[in-house]
């Protein structure tokens, strides 16, 4: 997909997101002796999505740890490791199962720097596959990003393609604060992109403009990106398409300058509408650029229900649903 950032002299291969993430983890383990991975089934099994495949064999049990079944323990111990000099990367098997660790994330990781006056910090990365599209039903499909975006002290990142996935995970490893790294599992193997060998980073806090246009701004992230691009390309829409990549802190400047240009906004995400990330985007815009708008700010999102198994294709925003609201905005 995005090849603009191709670096001089770096060999490119077509990789899927699982391979790209695996490569990023390999680089981290290889270059940072204090880095390590921990999670359920990440070692021998290589992770249920195979993101950590082969790494136990390469780096040993001390640095690729198959943990007992307890997310609180995974995150809680990782925070302790991080505060005392290691660089742990924890995997939560599905984001749906992160909630037993919620207290550790919200009350410990996110507040440790603040309450200790900077004497302690917790550079821990918590990776979690999220979102629907794999027929996972209520408990293997959730998009819980809002719970983290509302929590100051965290970074919340989500890539939408293999290239970004690798560079973003490498960038996350350089942050000295806790990171929730959400991986859109629907895109794990469905798309390939050119991925350079070796190290490179994607800037944290910066959105990417994937299409440039004048009539409307479509803001999205993660698994909805390919769907949005399809809508735009198939319908020849004159649209700015923004992939947020960083959900906390969001790239305010890019959002606002695009909206000032186009005057129309549609926000697309999988998570339920009420207090989904779209709510914050909308609020930021109507605080700062309301007089530039020609139309209401529309949100196209998952429903305010748990995530259903049988009808997931109707739950997830699809091209029709997005197009309907793009048209509504354009015709307003």
């Amino acid at each position: 997909m995005d090849t603009r950032r191709r670096k001089e002299g770096m060999a490119m291969r077509q990789l899927n997101m699982v391979q790209a993430l695996n490569e990023a983890l390999d680089i981290i383990l290889n270059t940072d002796p204090y880095s390590l991975l921990l999670g359920e089934d990440i070692g021998r099994d290589g992770g249920v999505f195979r993101v950590t495949d082969g790494l136990l064999q390469k780096y040993g049990k001390e640095r690729v740890i198959d943990t007992p079944l307890n997310e609180l323990g995974i995150v809680g111990t990782a925070i302790g490791m991080a505060a005392y000099g290691l660089r742990p990367i924890a995997e939560i098997q599905f984001q749906d199962f992160i909630f037993p660790a919620f207290d550790q994330i919200v009350n410990q990781a996110a507040k440790i720097r603040y309450r200790s006056g900077g004497k302690f910090n917790a550079p821990v990365i918590i990776r979690a596959p999220y979102g629907g599209g794999i027929k996972g039903g209520l408990y293997h499909s959730q998009s819980g990003e809002s719970y983290f975006v509302h929590t100051p002290g965290l970074y919340v990142l989500t890539p939408s393609n293999p290239y970004d996935a690798k560079g973003l995970l490498l960038a996350a490893h350089k942050l000295n604060d806790p990171v929730i790294f959400l991986e859109p599992k629907r895109l794990y193997r469905s798309i390939k992109s050119d991925v350079p060998e070796g190290e490179y980073t994607i800037p944290v806090g910066k959105a990417k403009k994937l299409r440039e246009g004048d009539k409307i701004t479509i803001i999205t992230y993660g698994s909805m990106v390919p769907t949005v691009l399809n809508v735009v390309d198939k319908n020849n829409l004159d649209a700015d398409v923004m992939d947020l990549i960083t959900l906390l802190p969001m790239d305010l400047d890019s959002i606002i300058s695009s909206v000032k240009k186009t005057g129309r906004v549609v926000i697309v995400h999988e998570a339920p509408r009420t207090l989904g990330v779209g709510a914050e985007i909308s609020a930021l815009i109507s605080e700062r650029a309301i007089e530039y708008l020609y139309a209401p700010i529309f949100r196209v999102t998952g429903f305010d229900t748990p995530f259903p198994y049988a009808n997931e294709e109707h739950y997830l925003p699809d091209e029709d649903r997005i197009l309907k609201y793009v048209r509504k905005s354009l015709e307003y």
Partner: protein
């Protein structure tokens, strides 16, 4: 084991040969169904399955000792127990197929059963999250002066969760009539029990003042013996107990799992170590069963399942409006609006 006169054999002073034979029949039916579902998953008819091969023996044993008023708060690997307690296979198939006759309009992944009418709770995915719930259910039973006890089971992995810790402590402090059953099949997906914990699972109750009991769950008589003691304890003491049934997960964790990545199979289905084969041999040696009858049972099971699967596959999928039902007793304006706009 032995005769108690009157011409009828009584095993463990309790079960006659028909009961044993019935247990065997349910176990065979369960295994047959399990295999068929795995197959259906490969054929793309069904989306997912967590096989229960290897779990049949303790589950029929529980089934034989449960009483009508007992509530079971179970997990996703309890196909045999559901069958034992009378859940019609049609309902199970509707659930696996996630069709419009499914109790929840196909909202759940397969194996997330919900058969309240048959004394079960509704199965969720987060491991062991139902254990504190079970304690609350027991509390309701006691407060409402209802008969019966609560049985709640989960896997060896489940013992590591905070839910397990909370549930056992609350059950003990409140002195609830509840049986916690750990179906220790040796693995939590790829993690062997020896890396899940460094303590014998039956000892885990001691941290809460709850007695523990452990037995070979691959053998029907040792399973029955163990469960008889455990049920007796809970029913008479009206206090919690922790039961460990030592078994072996013969298949993959789920249809998405490939155990070759992390283990060599120790017990191969159909081999002489297969607990179902051992059950058969036991019944044969007791003169309750012969090969011919066994073949008949298996043939009946296969045909019955095949016929019903074919029939249930004709049922249409749930309508998309069902997405917004049952979020609340009455939908709020948010769900209503979403339905109007999209469904």
């Amino acid at each position: 084991m032995g005769s108690n006169g009157g011409g009828t054999l009584k095993f463990l002073n309790r079960f006659d040969e028909n009961e044993l034979l019935n247990a065997y029949r349910v176990a065979v039916y369960s295994r047959t169904l399990d295999d068929r579902i795995i197959n259906a998953q490969r054929q793309g008819i069904i989306g997912f399955h967590t096989p229960s091969a290897g779990h049949e023996i303790p589950q029929v044993a529980m089934g034989m000792l449960l009483e009508k008023d007992d509530i079971v708060i179970n997990y996703y690997r309890d196909l045999t127990l559901l069958l034992f307690r009378g859940v019609p296979v049609e309902n199970l198939l509707d659930h696996f197929l996630a069709n419009s006759e499914d109790f929840s309009h196909g909202r759940n992944m397969p194996d997330h059963y919900n058969f309240r009418e048959y004394g079960f709770y509704s199965v969720q995915s987060p491991v062991a999250m139902h254990l504190p719930f079970a304690v609350g259910a027991a509390y309701a039973k006691v407060m409402k002066k209802e008969n019966g006890i609560v049985l709640s089971n989960t896997g060896d992995g489940g013992t590591s969760t905070g839910d397990f810790h909370a549930a056992l402590n609350f059950a003990s402090v409140w002195k609830m009539p509840i049986m916690f059953v750990i179906e220790n099949n040796g693995y939590a997906i790829s993690l062997p029990t020896s890396e899940q914990t460094k303590a014998p699972i039956e000892k885990k109750g001691e941290a809460y003042g709850i007695p523990g009991i452990s037995f070979d769950g691959n053998d029907i008589f040792s399973a029955l013996e163990g469960f008889i003691k455990a049920f007796e304890y809970v029913r008479t003491q009206r206090s919690p107990i922790l039961v460990e049934a030592r078994i072996y997960r013969m298949g993959p964790h789920s249809t998405s799992d490939d155990p070759k990545k992390y283990r060599k199979d120790e017990i191969v289905p159909g081999s002489s170590d297969d607990p179902l084969v051992k059950f058969k041999e036991k019944l044969k040696s007791l003169g309750i069963l012969n090969e011919e009858f066994d073949n008949e049972i298996k043939k009946w099971a296969t045909e019955d399942i095949e016929r019903k699967l074919e029939e249930r596959m004709k049922i249409p999928p749930p309508s998309k409006e069902t997405i917004i039902y049952d979020v609340y007793e009455n939908p709020t304006w948010i769900q209503e609006e979403e339905r109007r706009e999209w469904l």
